[in-house]
Amino acid sequence: MTTTAIASSSRATRRFGNIALQIGLVLVVAGLVYAAADNAARNLQAAHIASGFGFWNNTAGFDISQTLIDYSSSTSTFGRAFWVGLLNTLLVAGTGIVLATALGFAIGLARLSRNWLVSRLAGCYVELIRNVPLLLQLLFWYNAVLKALPELHGSVTFPGGALLNNRGLFVPRPQFAASSPYVTMTLLVAAAAVVVLRLWARRRQERTGEQVPVLWIALGLLLGLPLAFIFLTDVPIRFDYPALGRFNVLGGIEILPEFAALLLALTIYTAAFIAEAVRAGVLSVAHGQTEAAQALGLRPSTTLRLIVVPQAMRVIIPPLTGQYLNLTKNSSLAVAIGYPDLVQVFAGSVLNITGQAVEVIAITMAVYLVISLVTSALMNLYGYAIAVGER
């Protein structure tokens, strides 16, 4: 037998092995799925539990403590409860992402500060927060801090009319008067003027090299025009202030302690991880870039804004997205303190009432999976976009 014949025969054996392996794997997986489905069907039948998604349109019959859309326990369906829970999840995740990003960037930049004390304090924050489980922090904020606040009649009153007690934070609710749409319109006019101003200033700088203090003029326009309008007409917004009733607080917007605790814990925890991502990103920008910018005569603030940050963002954005996804997934810890998020409402109450574990858990997982996959797809697109821009 020649060497080529040996090579091709061994390649053929390997190929045969591969195909056999693949067929075997498919059979094993299909067998497992079949056995699981068969068992589940038999077990469910034995327990007299319905299957299928028919429960979606049945009346829910339980209360939810925070609803962003109309919901009533006597008339709304399980499907409606699902949307209520999903919106609550998105509310806490969205707010948390904004706050955690702000806090995380501040801490990350503080860690890079040349001031020894500032960078040490930021380092302590990161180490302390990262090494303690999120669930423990959440229970601490909820049980040891927010539940330990004064009772209703010892409520803390803030200047501006907000009330704080162990049932939550109550803030004044804005009520818009008839003239408020016109104020919004003046604001839009001011915004359009700012855009025009910015275009003109850039063209002027390109032509003559002279700069216009765009920021100050823009702030003046955006604040001045609406304020002048309000001054000339009447007050467009009045507030409905919360007031102490005999048994509860009347009026105002209620922020549940569960929401506040979850938001605090998620923000503080995720900010520590975002801070590390920011630090790594800024450190990844070569020192020569800063030196070159200084050699060109750019001021430190301009160097940071035009040279360092755009390059650092390329490194920061992928881990940052990962942290946003983590925050969204971690918001499911709401179930530990009873904030009505998707998991608490749907995989908790709805599952307990209907008993349809397979359908309910599958829907819950599908929601998180869709959020994750869509975000990763967008990230891949973004990564592709900046990879093309790189030379």
Binding site: L25, N115, W116, P133, A144, L333
Partner: protein, 382 residues
């Protein structure tokens, strides 16, 4: 120094250099450089000092100086004329400490738990000490001998004279450690297989691995635990239905494996192509190539990431709390609301103690990961 003839002064040795100005050297110089280099910096520094002065003394006061160290019930920790503002109630922790460590494990059998902790510490030490002799034997001990030994010790083996202890009695640190250890012991081999499958060019294994990894990583751990605790009993015949702790362990192991697979895949990606080609040129088969050439290098470069995954897993073990398992955090939570110890500060004390435990464990592991990282960087530079 010498004076030459003719009144001409010539210096033939240089004068010793003057020391730098006082403000540029020593403690003062350091302070100026690092804390007071500009007006803005000085303001920041003063602000930070004020912040520390505002936060640290009350904390020390609360946790150490005003703390109550001994007592048998809540009266010790309530405000009294001698102690108008009592600090942390460590007496509460002292009374409950055995519950925090062992849960309801029978008192007469607790030496078995201690033995398990010792055996585990021995295995971790063997594997973590990079210069230890025969680390291959250490790995065999950790991944094969230790699981069998621990199972016999903790769950009981009537043949060996060890009474059965049902998992319903396990609790506290014991459960936390068991969940974390099962997570790491199961996740490393499964994670390696998944990573290899994901990188292989056999379509079916690749698709199955990608589906499993992306699915598990895309959903919160809580839903995986719910799935394991609610759906698993449906999927198996009634007589095989696993007990509550085992179900949670399966959930944690699945979750940890998917994460570990991605970490190992990162390590595999760092191995240059030439290594594969060289191994293939030597005629090594796929498995021998991975076992002898690729994996040893890949696991070494990714060891810090493996430790970081383990830190995350250790923190995530607290989530078994939610499916009703008495891990360490759950025992603290249960003790905290005991009416015998109902004081305004019991909760804070309990949470502070739990935080201290997790912080010490996780911070220790992260220091270890950083040490390994610097060692690897040094070896790499050479």
């Amino acid at each position: 120094m010498s004076a030459a003839a003719g009144g001409v002064y010539l210096r033939d040795t240089p004068e010793a250099a003057l020391p730098p100005p006082v403000l540029r050297r020593g403690v003062l110089g350091w302070l100026r450089e690092n804390l007071f280099s500009s007006i803005g910096n000085s303001v920041l520094t003063l602000f930070c000092i004020a912040f520390i002065a505002w936060v640290v003394p009350p904390l020390l006061q609360f946790f150490i100086f005003d703390a109550v160290w001994s007592g048998s019930d809540r009266d010790a920790c309530l405000a009294s004329p001698q102690l108008p503002e009592p600090g942390a109630c460590w007496a509460f922790v002292r009374v409950w400490i055995n519950y925090f460590i062992y849960g309801f494990y029978p008192i007469a059998e607790r030496w078995r738990v201690d033995l398990f902790f010792a055996a585990l510490a021995f295995g971790i030490g063997w594997l973590a000490w990079l210069g230890a002799p025969r680390r291959d034997l250490g790995a065999a001990y950790f991944f094969i001998v230790l699981p069998v030994l621990s199972y016999l010790l903790l769950s009981g083996a009537p043949l060996l004279g060890l009474a059965d202890v049902t998992t319903a009695l396990w609790g506290g640190v014991l459960v936390t450690i068991v969940v974390a250890t099962v997570g790491i012991v199961a996740s490393l081999p499964i994670g390696i297989l998944l990573a290899l499958a994901r990188r292989s060019d056999i379509p079916v294994t690749k698709i199955l691995a990608v589906m499993f990894i992306e699915f598990v990583r895309g959903v919160p751990l809580i839903t995986v635990l719910f799935m394991a605790s609610v759906m698993l009993p449906l999927f198996v015949p009634d007589q095989f239905s696993p007990d509550k702790l085992v179900r949670a362990l399966i959930g944690v192991a699945l979750f940890a494996s998917a994460n570990m697979a991605e970490v190992v895949r990162g390590g595999l990606a760092a191995i240059p192509r030439g290594q594969y080609e060289a191994a293939a040129a030597l005629g090594l088969s796929y498995w021998r190539m991975n076992a002898l050439v690729i994996l040893p290098q890949a696991l070494r470069v990714t060891l810090p990431n493996i430790v970081n995954t383990f830190i995350a897993l250790f923190k995530d073990t607290t989530l078994v709390f939610i499916v009703g398992i008495f891990d360490f955090l759950r025992t603290v939570e249960a003790a905290r609301i005991d009416p015998h110890w109902a004081t305004p500060i019991t909760s804070v004390t309990g949470y502070a103690f739990a935080a201290l435990f997790y912080f010490v464990c996780c911070y220790g592991m992260s220091r270890y990961a950083r040490n390994v990282e610097t060692r690897l960087a040094r070896a790499h530079r050479r």
